[in-house]
Amino acid sequence: MTTNLQTAAVPVAARANSRPRLRLATREKLLGIALIAPVAIIFFGIILGPLLRGVQLGFYRVQQITLKTQFLGLGNFIKILTDGEFLNSLWITIEFTVGGLILQVVIGVAIALLLNQRIVGRSAARSLMIFPYLVPAIVAATVWRWLLNDTYGIFNSVMMDAGIINRPIAWFAEPNLALPSVILVSTWRAFPFIVIACLGRLQNIPRQLYDAARADGASTWAQFWDITLPQLRSVLIISVFLRFIWNFNDFSTVALLTGGGPVDRTMTLPMLIYRVGFGEHLLGPAAAVADLGLVVMSVFFALYFWIAKPLSEQSS
């Protein structure tokens, strides 16, 4: 019996030795790859693929209807960088992004502090605060176009009745007012995000810190500066980061309010990409503008993280 068993076991062992078996670590590695592959494929398909295609288009002339392409090398980039339009748009985008960001953060933090106090109607105010953030861009733009309308807008009407102005102001058509007006609307739409983010953090700051500070005779300002702000730092870092991206890429607010005008005074990069790509049917140059925008944004991110990382570590 024993002999038989041994005899039977030999060929099995021999078969096993003749076919190289994967080591456990390798098999686990392969399983890991197999499990991650679907996500990687989806990531490539829906994020990296279009991104690379967009970058690639910047180097071509593209006929929009037939989609026939012709390689131009750096032609589109040279044209864009030399005709001044891109740099003008970039500057306007930075003004729009940074201007909006400052207002959103200042107003957002101020209102969050207010809503963190025990005031009458606090719950209702907290609920209403989210409202501008929920309103679709088209509704917000239409409402603000009415409010700031040159001939029947309430802003002009009130200011004229109060004797502040004697002629209606064209908020979206005056070259020097168009961008600030668009920033104002953008701020109105976005500040609730900062309020919500900060309010959540404010509610978790231990009361003992304020009690101890007060016991030491710290003023309200000192409490804000030395307790509240450091506690808000981590929330603000991520909020500013997200709002920067969203402001930089905000297309709908500008498109619906001014369409980039008057005379390109609100021609942000997303508007320029849209106008060149879909107004002038020049997909190649539009992609080149987008590529350059991506580079600029990446530089900003690198700078941001370089500055924000020590601050973040400090606050944690």
């Binding site: 309308n149 040159d150 064209a170 058509a173 390109d264």
Partner: protein, 446 residues
Amino acid sequence: MSSQNSLIKKAASGISRRSALKLTAAGLAAPAILGSWRKAYADDGTLRLLSEDTADVELAWYKQVNDAFKAKHPDVNVQLTTIDSSLMMEKLTNSIAANDPPDMVPGTLQERIATFAKLGVLRPVDDIIDKIGRDDFVKGSLENFQFEGRQLAVPLSNQFRVLWYRNDLAKAKNVKAPTNWDELLNWAKTFTGDNKYGIALAGGVNYSTCFMVLQFFRQGGGGILDEDGKVMIDSAANKTALEYMAELYQYSPPGSANYGEADLLKNLQTGTAAAIYYPGRVLQRMTTNAPELMPNINATIPPYSAKRFTSNGPRGTVIFADARSPDAAAEWALESSFGRESHIDWLLTAPGMFLPVRKSVAADPRFTGSPLLKERADVIAVLEEASHDEGNLYKETPNHKPNFRSGDVSASPILPTMLQKHWINKESSASALSWAQKQMEDLLAS
């Protein structure tokens, strides 16, 4: 730990065989499934209409004719998509590029159709015209949609941009409707003051502004292109016209540089502006929004300097060469757009805006008996008179060579930006015109 490892081992060995086979099978099956779905979609009798008619009365008309069509052709599913007229070029360009054009556009402007005609994406429509009756179309209307010898759209209607003014305000100031540029300027001065304006001009980046620029250029003896198709924006006549427009702009509301058609109409309706340039749709809008103002609204031939010129808008019905349901599209056109009764119903959705281009319809008592058309026969007479000096970006005058890029010109920001440069950037007229000349040359050469 060991049970975990055995689980991993089991999973790893499972994936390498069965799952790999299943994945391969699924991978092979997916294109076949998707392909058959696409084929089924292509053959399921869906008729896709893309329309720029968005007013409630127009949508009600579509509902009515589509219900009737569905009742007669239960196997055809009519799918209506509506978009703002200003986005039509963009929407069509993108859908054609994506190889997914609609089956048909029931009505759009000649200058847009011309651009798509040149690209060879439209289906000839002679069969439809023959069924309607070639002789029924008024002179010149068929020719409006013949591109390089091919009939690529069925003429649907025509429209004209005239000067609309507030009769009540004119009477109060004892002023007559202007007939030339000098009178128009005086008119504008007379009514401006106390936050009221003599005229509201469109200066935003939109096609209304393009039409207005063309109109002033031609009225001043200039134009966008000369008869041979050469760009002539920087001509002396255009310089005079641009400077005249800047003078008029002083008497237009402060936000004019951002105005589109809706703003113009609101200004006329509220009495903020005493006059506007607008197509015949004013009658429909006033009937709907402010019927009490109807007696106070009047129209006149656009005042001119060197030549009379009215910006026109022949509209046509097009079917795309790559339509998935071309037969259903042709059938829909014959029954819904051009069936006598429904065609008249459509024209009457905006009386004065959609002027007939078929003799039988123009003479039909159902059309001529429209209460609004009878009530405002004076306005209709003005619109008809305006048709004697018509032109547009496709053909500025009958002697012009066709401009197949007219759709792109009307969708491009060149003409509005030129205007804004002079109006609000205070650039000299010569500089703004020279900039636009170069931009337009580049656009037409691209």
